[in-house]
Amino acid sequence: MIGGLFIYNHKGEVLISRVYRDDIGRNAVDAFRVNVIHARQQVRSPVTNIARTSFFHIKRSNIWLACVTKQNVNAGLVFEFLNKMVEVMQSYFGKISEDNIKNNFVLIYELLDEILDFGYPQNADTSILKTFITQTGIKAQVTKEEQSQITSQVTGQISWRREGIKYRRNELFLDVLENVNLLMSPQGQVLSAHVAGRIVMKSYLSGMPECKFGINDKLVLDKSGRSDDPSKVSATGKSSIAIDDCTFHQCVRLSKFETEHSISFIPPDGEYELMRYRTTKDISLPFRVIPLVREVGRTKMEVKVVIKSNFKPSLLAQKIEVRIPTPLNTSGVQVICMKGKAKYKASENAIVWKLKRMGGMKESQISAEIELLPSDKKKWSRPPISMNFEVPFAPSGLKVRYLKVFEPKLNYSDHDVIKWVRYIGRSGLYETRC
């Protein structure tokens, strides 16, 4: 298993070093710095083998986190653990930065002691960790009941929720967050498109509520199809969607999903990600980008880009940004656009065009003249035009059908819970080649 975990700043100075196994020596700390952080060429793999020692690293802002091992460990586990570690640290002290890590190094060591034992990851659920690893130090006068409550939660079957939570108002917030990814050819052919969706929940519920969640997944609807109104399905045509694959938070009973296709769970308290899913069929692409690039001689280029919004006119897209790459030898750019603001950013080698909002079924365009310095360097690789936006609907067509809450022990029912649902579609990698 994991032999040690190191955290470095961007200069390669070690901020945290925790060694779990005897086969990892202090020289491992230096080996990683020399061969990866200070390497002449950028490393070409997140896994590096140096003298029979394997280093797994991730980089968050300018902090390097590295796990070291000499064994044939589960690589998926190690990276998942590193990401989890980042998540835990963020929830304790916010952004991962050198200052924050230095300020909290005692806490980090305490966490590392708890969530990795002999290199084996243990319970790393922040909500539970926070019950007994606190910055103020655990109170010495904890009652015996409280102690055993902590330990049973750490090891228990429902390790993500403690008992005895009470709210005056039982409330639920449900966010359907989708990232729509697109790769389109210059001719407007969709090369690949998929939606990576997340369902993020904030639950403020008392007791140990049992929840049941339903979406318009084709599989589920087809299965229980008869009970639903058949006319409704046919009328809208697209009332159910085909989900390629989904993954769930550990609170969801996977075997139940496998057999009955029902999503049932006891939720963690507060905010968490219930589900992730992926769809590739029938995606409604909110925008279409039509590029036109013309090279006029060796020192001039003309670019025209049209964007078309493709959703209900009543809806409004926000935070629209189109990024048009320019060659490295650009010497000057003249931009003309009717709406929004456009600027040539030399440092980023791109023209950035921003629009605050745009209604559905509209069209907008930008044109630019790019002057080039004559250069005999190799051909410009023409990176794709990328786009960012936010729309108030789910491009995959996903709809929440219900979310039922049962708490048999406390006397509140499903009707007493206030539920909020929100749909947000954002651009993921939304690119059009030009």
């Binding site: 997140p46 000499k70 690589a75 998926g76 200052d99 005692v106 010495a140 102690q147 550990q250 992730r276």
Partner: protein, 950 residues
């Protein structure tokens, strides 16, 4: 919130100052000081001098402070073992604390302190903690057993911690189960001892599967990894495991998903080949694998490396998911590069799309990525014939870009396309020739030269082109030189009149001015061919070439199968077996073979033996042969003279002759050897006098007819040449002078000399292992055969094999590592002290009889065996004795002779036998009794073999 200040203390005299603060009365100041110490420790400063002062802070109610002190202890205890003892009392006390968090903390930390004296004190508290009422303590204690095992394996076994750990597998708390599984897996991974192996039966599997649904994400990974090592009894069980693991594919933790994929990939091998179940399972595997590709880039990378393996093993899985592998512009380079190799194969339907993508990539910036893309275009052409033309035109477009590395890579690729589709695309040669000057990489130059030589008759100025290369002949790399030589010879054969001068020039360059033996050899061959029989030369040089296969970039099937068993692990990321990057002798690989199917598809029906043998450690370094050559010759000569298999190795001589005679010349050796063979007094003194083989052997040796005392089966081919790149291995086993040998014949059927031989055995049922390094006359030149003997020991690592006598062997040479397996004849394992006393002289107890009765009747197996030569009891008895089956008593009942016999195996198993011999009958009845029923069929077989063959 200002802990960062601790990092900034760089004053001189700091240690002294800290010392003062550590001993301060104020709690706060103490804590501050400890924090400073830890910060210094992190940065790499040596603060071990503060050991006693820090340990003094240990006695505190403040848990945070306590944890810091423990952290310090873990780091420095090893360098100050005597001081560390000071801490023991506190640990032991803490292990009794009422707070379970403190109990667990104490036991957790104690396991991390690698000081022998502390370890002794750890045993008692650990035993208690394993039975603690609180699951948190139990789960911590479970991991602690693994820690202790790492420090002192023997102690763990002696103290019975393994049994306690096994009990925890049935614990009510899933996290305890998971940690116990993790600890047990690690122990059985690293320990050679059979006691430490993790026995898994149906019951444990069920418990694990139950815990799987309830434990944390990490626990699920531990359990899945352990499950993947289990070999199901039949396909029904395999199927039910698969069914219960499938839901894990929807877990959000990629580690869980990958480990579940591993279990399922292995499970599918155990379930029948083409069943509906496998088909549906394959369908279920695709979406989660694709989902992994939308996680963080590092996880994506791991997933892609694994998908690469999975697609090679089961190409159907991602057949329809090609689009997800399209590269995104902003992907990190390692993800981009990997996407390539993972590409599910191009087919006729999707080729247009794939090609368009590939062309797009070939104009990117990253050199490696572009090269890979160009190569991929070539692969498409070779694979999909209908697409070849489009591929070629795409490649031509790329050549027009004149980007140097693109052009070079394209030319290499086009050469392969020419080979695959001869006489189809030669029209493009002229375009290629235009780029001749820009080629500066050996690969590209060699490819271009090959093309010119191959199509010399169609290129008007072929001779000029080749001549231009010839100018700098000596500066070229060997690859280019060889290619140029061949190309010019080809050209000569096609256009003899104009190119005579050129060919003479190149031949003399190759044979006279070069010191590269390969080049000279090839030059001479061509020269002689051309001068003796030009017609033959034409046939040889211009012979039709075998077509090239489309499946380059693929792993060898045996390696692939092994890696499938390591899905999710580092091995799957490196695409190398763990032995290639994990250190340690003790590393013993568990069952990592996929089951091998017979044609009928019945799992494990044949117990087939072709499966890959995981190597236990790195290939053994070959020992330098130290025997002077004349000695070897003498030995061989001697051997021939005596028609005896005298081995010329020093070890062997040691066992034959006492040390002082070893260095003497041939005559002495002869004398010494003969003396020992004749049972002369002095040389034999070193051997046990009771050696039965000597008695039996003596007569034979005087007749000079037989080379060894026990029966030696004829050599069998264990590793046919085509499977081992030309190395053929055949062999057998024998016992000579009380030493067990593996007799091997190595034959080099390849074209190149072989050397650097080494051998390794996998764990096997009887712990056979090589007692010395393999000594092969090196190099073994092509066509040469070498007889080699390898002395064997019987105290290697043990693991029960199926079939029992199976021995898996890895043999290495300078070319590769090869795996084969063979069956050990059981009589190889009979020991010379297998004669059970009939009666104990002192107590007058009838040992044999008592033992016979002691073994339950259910353990008796009868069989008719043949007696083809109708030997009499005396003859049989003598014969068997030579193979260490000892006759203890003989009776005559109703005209039938009864022989009572015993034998003992190297691992101490006794087998008792009763042999009923009917005079003048071709068969006899053999009853065997033993506590280990597994060996009976083998022993019966040994009887038959020995009696029939000697």
């Amino acid at each position: 919130m200002t802990d960062s200040k601790y990092f900034t203390t760089t004053k001189k005299g700091e240690i002294f100052e800290l010392k003062g603060e550590l001993n301060s009365d104020k709690k706060e100041k103490k804590k501050e000081a400890v924090k400073k110490v830890i910060a210094s420790m992190t940065v790499g400063k040596d603060v071990s001098a503060l050991f006693p002062d820090v340990v003094n802070c240990m006695q505190t109610d403040n848990l945070e402070l306590k944890k810091l002190v423990y952290l310090y202890l873990m780091n420095y205890a090893k360098s100050q073992p005597d001081m560390a003892i000071m801490a023991v009392n506190t640990f032991v006390k803490d292990c009794e604390d009422t707070n379970p968090l403190i109990r667990a903390l104490a036991v957790r930390t104690m396991g991390c302190i690698r000081v022998d004296k502390i370890t002794e004190y750890l045993c008692e508290p650990l035993r208690k903690c394993l039975k603690d009422e609180d699951p948190y303590v139990r789960k911590t204690a479970a991991v602690c057993v693994a820690k202790l095992h790492d420090i002192n394996a023997q102690l763990v076994e002696d103290q019975g911690f393994l049994d306690q750990l096994r009990e925890l597998l049935s614990d009510s708390n899933p996290m305890v189960v998971a940690n116990a599984v993790a600890a047990l897996s690690e122990i059985s991974d690293t320990s050679p001892s059979p006691a430490a192996q993790m026995e898994m039966n149906q019951q444990t599997i069920n418990k694990l599967l139950a815990a799987l649904n309830e434990c944390t994400e990490w626990g699920q990974i531990f359990i899945l990894d352990a499950l993947s090592n289990y070999v199901p009894k039949d396909d029904r069980e395999a199927q039910s495991i698969c069914e219960r693991v499938t839901p894990r594919l929807a877990h959000s933790n990629a580690g869980v998903v990958l480990s579940a994929v591993k279990v399922l990939m292995k499970g599918m091998e155990y379930v029948g080949m083409e069943t509906e179940f496998v088909t549906t399972l394959q369908k279920k595997l695709a979406p989660p694998l694709v989902t992994l590709l939308s996680s963080e880039p590092e996880v994506q990378y791991v997933a892609l490396r694994n998908i690469n393996l999975i697609v090679q093993k089961r190409p159907d899985i991602l057949k329809h998911e090609m689009k997800v592998f399209f590269v995104k512009y902003n992907d990190p380079i390692y993800v981009k590069l990997e996407n390539w190799t993972s590409y599910p194969s191009a087919t006729q339907e999707n080729i247009a799309q794939v090609l368009a993508e590939l062309k797009e990539y070939a104009t990117e910036v990253d050199v490696d990525f572009v090269r890979k893309s160009v190569r991929a275009i070539g692969r498409c052409a070779i694979k999909v014939e209908q697409a070849a033309e489009r591929c070629v035109s795409t490649l031509l477009d790329l050549i027009q870009t004149k980007v140097n590395y693109v052009v070079q890579e394209a030319i290499v690729v086009i050469k392969d396309i020419f080979r695959k589709y001869p006489n189809k695309y030669e029209s493009i040669i002229s375009t290629l020739c235009e780029n001749l000057e820009s080629l500066d990489e050996p690969d590209a130059r060699a490819s271009m030269i090959w093309i010119v030589g191959e199509y010399a008759e169609r290129i008007d100025n072929a001779d000029e082109l080749l001549e231009s290369f010839l100018e700098g002949f000596h500066d070229e790399s060997t690859q280019v030189q060889l290619q140029l030589l061949t190309a010019i010879v080809k050209l000569f054969l096609k256009k003899p009149t104009e190119t005579q001068e050129l060919v003479q020039q190149v031949l003399s360059l190759a044979t006279q001015d070069s010191d590269n033996p390969d080049l000279r050899d090839r030059g001479y061959i061509y020269w002689r061919l051309l001068s003796t029989d030009p017609a033959a030369a034409k046939e040889v040089v211009l012979a039709e070439k075998p077509l090239i296969s489309s499946e380059t970039d693929r792993l060898e099937p045996t390696l692939l199968d092994e890696l499938i068993c390591y899905i999710a692990s580092l091995a799957s990321v490196y695409h190398k077996p763990p032995s290639a990057f994990v250190e340690g002798q003790a590393l013993v690989v568990r069952r990592t073979q996929l089951p091998v199917r017979s044609a009928s598809g019945e799992p494990g029906a044949t117990g087939a033996t072709e499966s890959p043998v995981p190597q236990q450690a790195q290939p053994v370094q070959q020992q330098q042969s130290v025997i002077p050559s004349h000695d070897t010759a003498m030995g061989d000569l001697l051997g021939d003279l005596l028609s005896m298999d005298l081995n010329p190795q020093p070890q062997q001589q040691m066992s034959m002759t006492p040390a002082p005679q070893q260095d003497m010349g041939g005559m002495d050796l002869l004398g010494g050897g003969l003396d020992s063979l004749l049972g002369g007094p002095s040389p034999v003194a070193g051997m046990p006098a009771s050696q039965a083989s000597m008695g039996g052997g003596l007569g034979d040796i005087l007749g000079l007819g037989i080379s060894s005392t026990t029966y030696v089966p004829p050599k069998q081919v264990w590793l046919p040449a085509p499977k081992a790149k030309g190395l053929e291995v055949s062999g057998t086993f024998s016992i000579r002078q009380n030493v067990r040998y593996m007799d091997l014949t190595l034959k080099n059927n390849a074209m190149a000399p072989m050397g650097d031989f080494a051998i390794q055995f996998n764990k096997n049922s009887f712990g056979l292992s090589p007692a010395s390094a393999l000594q092969v006359p090196s190099p073994l030149s092509p066509g040469q055969t070498a007889d080699v003997t390898l002395p064997l020991g019987t105290n290697g690592p043990v693991q029960k094999m199926d079939p029992l006598m199976n021995l898996q062997v890895a043999m290495k040479n300078n070319i590769d590592v090869f795996y084969f397996s063979c069956l050990i004849p059981i009589h190889l394992l009979f020991t010379e002290d297998g004669q059970m006393e009939y009666a104990n002289q002192t107590s007058d107890r009838k040992v044999f009889l008592a033992t016979w009765k002691d073994i339950p009747d259910s353990n008796e197996v009868q069989k008719e065996i043949a007696n083809p030569n109708q030997l009499d009891p005396k003859g049989i008895s003598d014969k068997l004795q030579q193979s260490f089956i000892f006759t203890i008593a003989q009776r005559n009942v109703d005209g039938r002779d009864m022989l009572y016999q015993s034998l003992k195996l190297t691992n101490g198993i006794w087998v008792l036998a009763e042999l009923k011999i009917q005079p003048r009958s071709p068969t006899m009845t053999l009853s065997l009794k033993t506590r280990a029923l597994d060996v009976i069929p083998q022993v019966q077989q040994a009887y038959e073999l020995i009696i029939a063959n000697m």
